[in-house]
């Protein structure tokens, strides 16, 4: 469904993403992890059109989308959330999502947009009340709104950017389950960028690890968590967490 090859992004003399290639299959959840500054968000921004790649190709559903304007990519079937929620505070919660439902699906009709908004809000567990304002939402609510906006654009591929930062453990589990439900019920393929390894490992089918803009490991969660290079560059100072995550992943794979 998504085929990325030789992706490069340079900012002046700094190479943020260096020759990264990967593919995502239909119905898969791919985890994308790496330390701060490893190029995860830059890759997301190129996939969603916010940044144009310096070189490389991005094939989505058979079409080259590298360098296209964001609204064209979004309308072509990719949805994205932002690492830090970016709600429109002058609109109500419902209007936020209806906007995405209208403009993200080729501007069909208001009725269809509102229908999409209702469905998306229900899916993430936000009230479908038309008058509730964004200011009443907490960190978890804003993340849900971010997800609802992305879902309302009717994506085939969802780019979820560190959707769990700032949540407590129960909320994290809930959010992770939600991503899996989105895949299972709506059949949406997902790329999930995350700092928090434990929760991610529990849900994803495959993991890709980035460091300094390069892909250093890719594979099943259990294999990646045990990869010495990953332990060294990504969690070098916190080997216990990695071991625990690896054990958890193995246990799940076994059971």
């Amino acid at each position: 469904m998504l085929e990325v090859s030789g992706l490069v992004k340079r900012f002046g003399g700094f190479t943020a993403v260096n020759n990264v290639s990967f593919r995502v299959d239909q119905g898969e959840i791919l985890g994308l992890i790496g330390p701060n500054g490893s190029g995860k968000s830059t890759i997301f921004n190129m996939l969603s059109g916010t940044l144009a790649p310096t070189s490389g190709s991005i094939q989505f559903a058979g079409h080259e989308i590298a360098g296209l304007a964001p609204h064209r990519i979004i309308n072509g079937g990719i949805g994205r959330t932002f690492q830090i929620p970016r709600p429109f505070r002058r609109l109500t919660i419902f209007e936020n999502v209806a906007l995405a439902g209208f403009y993200g699906q080729g501007r069909h009709s208001r009725a269809r947009a509102e229908e999409a908004a209702e469905r998306s809000l229900a899916m993430v567990g936000l009230p479908t009340d038309r008058h509730a304002g964004v200011d009443g939402l907490g960190a978890a609510g804003l993340k849900k709104l971010e997800l609802a906006k992305a879902l309302a654009t009717a994506p085939k591929l969802l780019l979820a950017d560190e959707s769990l930062g700032g949540l407590d453990e129960a909320e994290m589990d809930q959010a992770a389950d939600m991503l899996r439900n989105i895949r299972d019920e709506l059949g949406i393929t997902i790329i999930w960028v995350e700092h928090i390894m434990g929760v991610l490992m529990r849900v994803v089918d495959r993991v890709m690890v980035l460091d300094h803009g390069e892909k250093i490991s890719e594979g099943l969660p259990s294999a990646v968590a045990g990869d010495p290079r990953v332990i060294e560059v990504y969690l070098g100072t916190d080997a216990e967490t990695t071991q625990a995550a690896a054990a958890e992943a193995r246990r799940r794979a076994g059971g």
Binding site: A69, N96, F102, A150
Partner: protein, 340 residues
């Protein structure tokens, strides 16, 4: 107010406005009312984009083009304003697209957008002044008196006719304002004014949406200029174009209230009454005072009453309990919106 109650109030208000010139015929007061209606329409046109953080100081340019193109076509080619006005509007619209497209495509926002549009105002003023062989330069310009059909020339002597024309044009502006307000485009433009990247991630074609509202605003402003020219039968670069006229639009829209449909109208009432009372009260001694007062009031309004007179009043009537934070209100009219 419920939807029906609101509609009824509009209906009664409109009926009263239409009946007014038939019951009350004082020509001076009617003249002031016509001016208020025409300028209200111009200010409403400006606020179409101004309310979404697209602060333009170039609208004097659009207004000047509407007025001068119509008058020049009439005098030189004998072209009726019925065709001249649309041509003037198209010219202003084309200029809006030429200036707007690179601005929006390359994300010139906030201060820089204001500066680009400021230059536009200045350029149009200079062009009108410099081509004095055709436009009369800073001495002004008068459309030739029609010898034949007055309707074809859009020239009328009685104030009542002009009052009704101005009322229709003003009403048209209010209707367009409401039409935009209820459309999905409003959601998109509010979103764009807050965060262009996030709006694009919701599928909005940011450049196209900004261009559309800019085009609409420029077309309407040019129409206001043309109507003003036909009514006054005398225009100068300073009364229909230039930076002073642009600033006056910003001032009136902000004082009246940017975010409510009748805000710019309230702004027009205040500015025109102010200018007239200064003129009558102090005569030639007070030339230019109104600009001084505008400037002072603008500063005070942006700091203390950013939603304008009507906006703040309606807020207080509607929800006396709700207190909107000052920071949020100011953000709404902040001219500077550094691009994220």
């Amino acid at each position: 107010m419920t939807g029906q109650g609101r509609l009824a109030a509009w209906g009664i208000g409109l009926a009263a406005l239409v009946a007014l010139p038939f019951l009350y015929r004082d020509p001076y007061h009617l003249h002031i009312l016509v001016l208020i209606l025409i300028w209200s329409f111009a200010y409403t046109s400006w606020s179409m984009m101004g309310r979404f953080g697209l602060v333009s100081l170039g609208h004097g340019g659009f207004m000047g083009i509407g007025a001068y193109v119509t008058a020049l076509l009439w005098n030189h080619l004998g072209l009726t304003p019925w065709i001249g006005i649309p041509i003037g509007m198209v010219a202003a619209g084309a200029l809006a697209l030429i200036v707007g497209y690179p601005c929006f495509r390359f994300r010139i926002t906030g201060h820089y957008f204001v500066l680009v549009t400021l230059a536009l105002s200045g350029i149009v003023l200079q062009v009108i002044t410099a081509t004095r062989d055709y436009t009369g330069g800073s001495l002004g310009y008068t459309p030739d008196r029609a010898s034949g059909n007055r309707l074809l020339a859009l020239q009328f002597d009685d104030k009542t006719t002009w009052y009704l024309i101005a009322l229709a044009v003003w009403l048209f502006g209010i209707v367009v304002w409401h039409w935009v307000d209820r459309s999905m485009a409003r959601y998109a433009l509010e979103a764009i004014s807050e965060d262009e990247d996030a709006a694009a991630a919701a599928g909005v074609d940011v450049t196209a949406e900004k261009l559309k509202i800019t085009l609409l605003s420029a077309l309407m402003t040019a129409l206001a200029g043309a109507i003003y020219c036909q009514y006054q039968m005398f225009i100068t670069p300073d009364t229909v174009s230039g930076i002073a006229v642009s600033l006056q639009m910003v001032f009136a829209a902000i004082v009246g209230g940017l975010f409510v449909s009748l805000g710019p109208t309230v702004g027009a009432i205040i500015t025109i009454m102010l200018a007239e009372s200064l003129r009558i009260g102090f005569g030639t001694k007070a030339v230019g005072w109104d600009n001084l007062v505008y400037g002072l009031l603008l500063v005070l309004f942006i700091i203390f009453l950013p939603k304008g007179i009507l906006g703040s009043l309606l807020d207080r009537l509607k929800k006396p309990q709700r207190k909107v934070t000052r920071a949020h209100e100011q953000e709404a009219v902040e001219i500077a919106r550094p691009g994220a």
